[in-house]
Symmetry: C2
Subunit: 364 residues, 2 copies
Amino acid sequence: MAIAERGARPARVKDVARLAGVSVGTVSNVLNGRRSVGEEVRERVEAAIEELGFVRNATGRALRTGSFPMVGVSVLDLTNPFFMEAAAGMDRRLRQDGFVMALSSTHSDAGEEARTLRTFAGQGVRGVVVSPTDTDLAVAHEIAARGVPVVLFDSPAAPDDMSSILADDRAGAAMAVEHLIGLGHRRILFLNGPEHQRQSRSRLAGVHDGIARSGEEISLSVEELGSFTAMEGRAGVRRLLVGCGLAAPMGTDGISVPARPLTVEGLPEELPTAIFCANDLIAFGAMTALRDAGIRIPEDVSLVGFDDIEMAAQMSVPLTTIAQPTDELGWVAADMLLTEPVTVRHETLMPTLVRRRSTAAPRG
Amino acid sequence: MAIAERGARPARVKDVARLAGVSVGTVSNVLNGRRSVGEEVRERVEAAIEELGFVRNATGRALRTGSFPMVGVSVLDLTNPFFMEAAAGMDRRLRQDGFVMALSSTHSDAGEEARTLRTFAGQGVRGVVVSPTDTDLAVAHEIAARGVPVVLFDSPAAPDDMSSILADDRAGAAMAVEHLIGLGHRRILFLNGPEHQRQSRSRLAGVHDGIARSGEEISLSVEELGSFTAMEGRAGVRRLLVGCGLAAPMGTDGISVPARPLTVEGLPEELPTAIFCANDLIAFGAMTALRDAGIRIPEDVSLVGFDDIEMAAQMSVPLTTIAQPTDELGWVAADMLLTEPVTVRHETLMPTLVRRRSTAAPRG
DNA sequence: CTGAAAGCGCTTACAG
DNA sequence: CTGAAAGCGCTTACAG
């Protein structure tokens, strides 16, 4: 049996009006509290609504008012914990106003992003929050020009027709490096994400800031990974260890080779005493690779992440990291689209250092 | 400047019709390919659409056709990797048909779930997929009766007005236990989720199936955790270790106390040789706690998870686990709502064992 | 093959 | 304070 055939036709304003003995305009007025309605009439209408189980049809309303109670959210990857924690914050804010969150993943593909944004616009969303694939904001500008408010998420301010919100990555990265330098580290590796992503560039700048500000002589090496993932972090550290003769090359099956036993005295000079990872997922992979090689955290190598996703506190060595105010970032992004009048705004939130157990003074 | 004031008014069918010199009905016909339209006329209309950058307004369309190109998805927790990987599968299927996914988290609260479902229904969604909070499906039935197709996700078949899709948890759990018994394990701990969740009960039944089928004498202990999280898994193993005298109690700050050194001979008899965790997150926490105590995986204790979330392969010891066809589960759930005619269907998919490095023959 | 008209469910000036 | 009517953008019988 086809589902569509089931079920009683739901009640409409017209049905409510008839039952209450008033006009549909009056029903609408009590629904919206727009004009003063007589006490007695209001009660009759409310009783009718109750009796019929009437739920206002959002489509009809949207057609009239021009906007559907929905906000579109376009993210790069649905399975990225940082985005999802931010999405949870947006959801919280949107629910307050009875809005719905339309969520779609672009898989970092600009074409998919364009499709998604246009679909949202065609559906009369109240606004769109987009974590942009790259710096080409053409389609975002296009829908903004069509009157759809957009907020750029985790992205810097763009020319005046769109809002933006992000954490200060540069300052956060500087904090991480200053923390390490403060502990006494002088040989530091920065495992960065791909350079074409804005976050990578900002965090690298912050690393240099931190070093400059410390006034210390720091030996810094930077490795650019292909993505912000655990797999890349693991492979990156593995390459480093192979280079130092501390591990055999990765098996072709992608499963790492068991570590050789290792004594502390055996750690070569080239090995950094601290690794700063551009996000927690990279740090997670790095931790695995270090552990495979029998290198202890933080005794042999200190590790710092970025984001403070939920998992960070649960890792086998709880991770010291730069915490983004992730939930708040999401909440504010949604709020920018809901509080009237909707204007172009730019917000930068401050990250904070969260000390856990993966950092300590360097060995030796 | 308020954003709402910006931008040119977007083109409507009327504008296209005027430019092409035809009626709006004809424009609609070429848009929907419903009736044969003259070749020359079609070209004129298409040119006009192109020139005006016309995008069909989904709200007007929805009001007329009765359904908005959107599917509502209600999950228990937006930051749960299993749900998000499933949501990615739904998103993939929905995008194919230009549908949008409205995603909302109920935080396992029945009241929130009711609100979410009613909101979706009021928005004229094509259908709803819901991962139900508990066994009270009253509101799901309510919207089904109002004509909104619903599919129960990760939930068993309900009485005939709703579709359902899930993996066979019971069979999966049996596989896990049979794998361990096959390796020679006879003392097994099952770290289960809360008993009020259907998954926990099914997986426990599967554990018993596996033991019964093996014909071996197995010493099984079962510990029920408060939730399917890493934190709970970690705490559960920690309690076990404290009970065996292998670890100091957890510090009040929630940070575990450093492990005491431990020799293999020192492992007490009461310690299970294998732990089966009701999901990968629990296994992740268990791994951390074991590592803290200096217990090796798999040499001292074997560990099996459930779900095969992305992280499973990246853990410090890559996790042997029962893989749910998560993406497919999501894809099929969405497909059930999109392929016409929409009928009530029930699907059960089979999980599979994925062997990685966290299981081996027992010590001794 | 094409057009004119009705209508989906709601909100909002406009009269009264 | 309340009602009648117009109209948001589209689709679809119904005529021609």
